[in-house]
């Protein structure tokens, strides 16, 4: 018989191994699933993960998926370091897209690239506003940010739906719930050639570097981490919990808003009801899979980006539904949480159990 025993110290090795175990278990379960559905599991996994990356187009499309994930995850990581559970990147993403898009669509005749800058700034501000609402409710009414941010996600989504069905609907759009196409001066330029991947991928990488410097080299970053570890010590040292909450929520919201506006002022090119395939939620998985570290988050966002690509590929090639993407993301999170248990506990043979009882 096997028994679980609490480790004396958390295992660092297991903390790093845990995501790899989770990925492995996801692949095995995925293979099992595909074979139950009557497909050759190896071929299906190849189609899901590797086939989309067989050419340059595939790699640039991966960049398109990774950019919003990386932006949202970088911001969320700031919150999660402080153990402030912002689940609202999705809503902040949508409001960022809506605010930026609204400004861009309001001045269709201004033909200067300053317009693009203005659109981006409004995207950031929109996200900050949405996160700021939750920060305000948290700091003034002690309202749990998990609940408020989730609820704000729905309000954001319905605000977007109202906008594209109403005030921002393209008059020349045959009554489809879509805004007009964004013009040249409010569209992000592509990074290479004619591919959809644009310069926002650079924003994402820059944000990652800046946020990481903030966390590891500045007093504010230190205060964020202290708040995450120990509230009593935060108060004792004289760090203001409210101030830190505002900072991380605004940074997180701003980056999610930037992700949102980069999506509509980039690959999508207009406001539509479906501007996010759940990037804001998937970014939560990215942060935890990436162990809240910069390199980890980068790799995790690439992996999760691949699940989006794979879902589309598998729909085209194997005639399976695209929602396989969600299935893979869910399995990944599930297995990650399960194997994280082994960071603090270990499995040992029952007869070796030491007699520490409480």
């Amino acid at each position: 018989m096997l028994k679980l025993e609490k480790r004396q110290y958390d295992s660092r090795r297991m903390a790093l191994l845990s995501p790899l175990i989770a990925i492995l278990l996801t692949l095995i379960t995925g293979a099992l699933l595909f074979s139950l559905l009557g497909h050759d599991p190896f071929n299906a996994l190849y189609t899901f993960f590797l086939a989309p990356l067989s050419d340059l187009y595939g790699w640039t499309e991966l960049g398109v998926k990774v950019t919003p994930l990386l932006l949202c995850a970088t911001g969320l990581n700031m919150c999660y370091q402080a153990k402030i559970w912002n689940i609202g990147a999705e809503g902040q993403f949508i409001i960022g897209a809506l605010a930026g898009g609204w400004v861009g669509l309001s001045f269709p005749d201004v033909e200067t690239y300053w317009m693009l800058a203005l659109v981006l700034v409004f995207g950031v501000l929109g996200g900050m506003l949405w996160a700021g609402l939750a920060a305000w409710m948290r700091t003034h009414f002690n309202a749990n940010e998990i609940l408020t941010t989730i609820m704000l996600n729905y309000i954001a989504l319905y605000t977007l739906l109202y906008a594209v069905h109403g005030p921002l609907k393209d008059p020349a759009g045959y009554n489809f719930p879509e805004s007009a196409q964004f013009g040249q001066y409010i569209t992000l330029p592509p990074l290479i050639g004619d591919y959809r991947m644009n310069i926002s991928v650079l924003f994402a990488l820059l944000a990652l570097v800046i946020c990481w410097t903030l966390l590891s080299r500045t007093l504010l970053g230190f205060q964020i981490k202290v708040l995450g570890e120990d509230r009593a010590a935060t108060a004792f040292a004289g760090f203001s919990e409210k101030r830190i909450t505002w900072w991380v929520m605004l940074i997180s919201g701003g980056l999610a808003g930037l992700a949102g506006i980069s999506e509509v002022a980039g690959p999508i090119g207009q406001l539509v009801p479906q501007i996010s395939p759940g990037y804001g939620y998937t970014a939560i998985i990215v942060v935890f899979l990436g162990r809240m570290s910069p390199i980890g988050i980068l790799f995790a966002s690439i992996l999760l980006g691949m699940t989006y690509m794979g879902g589309e590929m598998i729909q085209m090639d194997l005639n399976l539904p695209k929602s396989i993407t969600g299935l893979f993301q869910g399995m990944l999170l599930f297995f990650l949480l399960a194997s994280d248990f082994l960071i603090s506990y270990r499995i040992i043979p029952a007869n070796k159990l030491s007699w520490a009882r409480t």
């Binding site: 202290v226 570890e229 120990d230 040292a237 004289g238 760090f239």
Partner: protein
């Protein structure tokens, strides 16, 4: 004294990963004997008691209970055998009554009804001279009374061995006397008592036998009545540690900290409101505040650090009203604080010592315009570790990996390294071994002699007498008069700690409970 052996331990050994808690412990306790277990923190006293009470299983060794070999399967089994234990930290539900709390711990057949149980509680508590009202809610009891609940809970069952883990650390001198009377009564009736303590004078006056542990091993046994305190202390510590020191008193200079009628009503339930506290702390002196835990010390400390904010004028520091300043601003003005809880307030358990150095050192030169230079910080931490002889794996070791005494040395070192003008210290040597305690006291004295003001809040009366120039006591949120240490008798201080001094507010019902 009965010659029958109540309990005998033979070669009890217990290893934890990385440390030996008990090694070959042999111990025998006769019926009706009060047996002291002496030793510094980490000597293995608590582990040994937990083995007897069945909380921890030994790796090797035998345990004989009334001459039969047994293996205690758990606390419930221990209670069935007639072994009771009162832990240092009580396990009572504050919102329940005394009787309800006791009912929870009794076996099912033990209590037919609450009223029947209440009668038995009154009967037993009278019998042993520990008056208890079974209908009172636990939160309204003083710490001493809560301890009675724990003891009565043990007495309600047919008890033959009572284990007490540092029972006097939370009591006033008066309460200690009444506890000892009860324990002697119990022993006369044949109940054996294992008494864990590091207060040697108490052991001397109460116990028949003493066993001294150091580093998990027995280093000696003695008859406390025939052994001097110095000899017992010598058994507890390494050869080269000085056992006690005396320091010359000092006279304070200019006022540094003035409290003007400081009153505070905390928001938390069960927290102690402070009433009209006035004091005047001067440069170059150590002022001690004695008192039993939970009489407002925590609230006073939080008001002084700025974790609670009161009225501006009630706290004056160097002539400036600072009652409304947040903690960081106060630190920048030269106030350093050593809080009561080391892990979880004074230090972040999962962070490195260097980060914990920065935790309060950020107000000094450890950060520049919000930027951190980790090299400087690590070097600064390393200097503290070296100067205060903190045993650790270096500046990058996690705070939680340090023993309590070492962490306390680090925290005191950290605060002193900021060159404060005012150091506020809560329980400076609580749970610290004798060697480290001496070092900490030396540092406090030399800081005082450098002309700084020091406020010490402590429950350790011996220590207060040792290092303080002036003394007072806090009880139910009020402060006693402040006198020069040498003119305060221990009886006087004991009365102050029990609230017997003139205050401008009428006595609360709680105060009477302490007199009882």
């Amino acid at each position: 004294m009965g010659a029958m052996k109540q309990l005998e331990l033979i070669n009890i050994t217990k290893h934890y990963p990385g440390c030996i808690a008990n090694q070959g412990i042999c111990l025998s306790v006769e019926a009706g004997e009060i047996h002291a277990i002496l030793g510094e923190n980490g000597a293995g006293k608590s582990t040994l008691m937990k083995i007897i009470y069945g909380v921890v299983k030994p790796d090797a060794g035998q345990m004989l209970w009334q001459d039969h070999e047994i293996s205690v399967k758990g606390p419930a089994h221990a209670r069935q055998l007639g072994i009771g234990m009162v832990f240092q930290h009580f396990s009572l539900f504050e919102s329940l009554t005394v009787a309800e709390n006791i009912a929870l711990s009794l076996p099912k057949q033990g209590c037919s009804s609450l009223s029947e149980l209440s009668r038995r509680i009154i009967q037993v508590s009278r019998q042993y001279g520990m008056e208890l009202d079974p209908e009172r809610k636990v939160y309204s009891l003083s710490i001493g009374e809560q301890q009675r609940v724990e003891i009565v809970r043990c007495l309600l069952q047919d008890i033959q061995l009572l284990i007490l883990d540092e029972p006097t650390s939370v009591l006033t001198p008066l309460e200690v006397d009444s506890l000892f009377a009860t324990l002697r009564l119990l022993a006369d009736r044949g109940c054996s008592i294992l008494f864990i303590s590091h207060k040697l004078s108490e052991v001397q006056s109460l116990c028949d036998q003493a066993t001294v542990l150091r580093g998990g091993k027995i280093t000696g046994t003695c008859l406390p009545s025939q052994t001097s305190i110095e000899q017992m202390a010598r058994l507890m510590v390494d050869e080269d540690t000085a056992i006690s020191k005396s320091y010359p008193r000092a006279e304070g200079q200019a006022s540094v900290l003035v409290l003007n009628q400081l009153s505070y009503q905390p928001e938390e339930p069960f927290a102690m409101p402070l009433k009209n506290i006035s004091l005047d702390l001067r440069a170059g002196e150590i002022l001690g505040i004695a008192g039993v835990a939970g009489n407002g010390q925590g609230e006073l400390l939080k008001l002084l650090t700025g974790e609670y904010l009161g009225a501006a004028g009630e706290i004056e520091y160097m002539g400036e009203a600072i009652g409304k300043l947040p903690p960081g601003e106060r630190r920048r003005r030269g106030i350093a604080v050593v809080p009561e809880e080391r892990l979880g307030r004074g230090a972040v358990p999962n962070m490195s010592l260097a980060m914990n150095d920065l935790l309060t050192g950020y107000t000094c030169d450890l950060s520049r315009f919000g930027w951190l230079n980790w090299k400087t910080i690590v070097a600064h931490t390393a200097a503290i570790l070296a100067k205060y002889r903190v045993k650790s794996d270096g500046p990058l070791a996690q705070a939680k990996s340090l023993s309590g005494g070492n962490l306390q040395k680090f925290i005191i070192g950290r605060e002193i390294s900021q060159q404060p003008d005012l150091l506020i210290c809560s329980h400076p040597t609580w749970g610290v071994d004798i060697g480290a305690a001496n070092l900490i006291r030396d540092e406090l004295i030399s800081l005082r002699d450098a002309g700084k003001a020091i406020l010490v809040i402590s429950e350790d009366i011996d220590e207060l007498y040792q290092i303080c120039d002036r003394l007072c006591a806090i009880c139910h949120g009020s402060l006693s008069p402040i006198r020069n240490t040498d003119s305060v008798s221990i009886n006087q201080l004991g009365q102050w700690m029990a609230g017997e001094f003139d205050t401008e507010t009428p006595a609360t019902p709680f105060q009477e409970a302490v007199h009882a």
